[in-house]
Symmetry: C2
């Protein structure tokens, strides 16, 4: 297993490597999770979008992209697929040059299920991390992003 090997190599002391490693791990997890539990054929990105729209019904596609740190073109494609799947309905708003994404009945059902799955993860999270630890963890992550920003400007298109 990779994890054990990691102990005897210097690279593991590098924060950049650690984050990267976790980042890739996370990505693989998302895929595996999706395959195992999302019987409704929805990706984690799609679920994240449903969650975001649910909280902020008027969120624009560009704002979605910023939250998710993906390109707006990419998010637009995901949104189109979501409409094809019947999870949302896209409606162009003439006087504001934006498209409103409305969660359908089907989308809402899946959202509810997804929220359950999310809650499950959050429960597990709370079992493993105290509130204080969690706050600190967030703080570290934020600090790390700031660190990166201080080296080059990070932006999306």
């Amino acid at each position: 297993m990779a994890k054990k090997d990691l102990l005897d190599i210097k690279l593991e002391n590098s924060l950049a490597f650690q984050i990267d490693y976790t980042s890739n791990f996370n990505k693989s997890f998302r895929r595996a999770f999706h395959k195992k539990f999302m019987n409704s054929n929805i990706s984690m990105d799609e679920l994240a979008i449903l969650l975001l729209i649910n909280i902020r019904p008027d969120i624009t596609q560009t704002a979605l992209a910023r939250y998710m740190f993906k390109g707006k073109a990419h998010v637009g494609k995901i949104l189109n697929i979501m409409e094809e799947k019947g999870l949302i309905k896209r409606k162009y708003i003439e006087h504001s040059n934006t498209t409103k994404n409305i969660i359908t009945k089907k989308g809402n059902d899946i959202l509810k299920q997804g929220q359950k799955d999310f809650k499950n993860i959050e429960k597990k999270t709370k079992d493993m991390f105290s509130l204080q630890e969690l706050e600190q963890f967030f703080e570290y992550l934020k600090k790390y992003r700031k660190l990166l920003e201080s080296i080059v400007e990070v932006k999306i298109k």
Copy 2:
């Protein structure tokens, strides 16, 4: 800016979202960093591979893949590109069914430069994080990966 907006939305309290956000941020950073500083036309992945081979000259392609949490097919392709670029020389070892990747002079020069860039980041890291904080950060990341593992098995092909 997305960062400010993040404050007034519940999703930001989710560890999964935070990690994901940082993960994407990190990826964008790598790209931006590469564009700005890696005048030698080498990607961060390629540099990571050089670093790994440098530490462990006999590392196999599959092991590389495990460290980097990518598929071995993908790493194989990166290695081929690296050979085309003249960073390494790939040499098939008959009696062991493995391919040894040897860093060339050119690869070594770039490695040296890359190590400098890395050191720079590590210096910045040490300015921002105390040793204790860093250890804790690593611990949190490890714990997070364990958390994910407890939900579904995460693996690469």
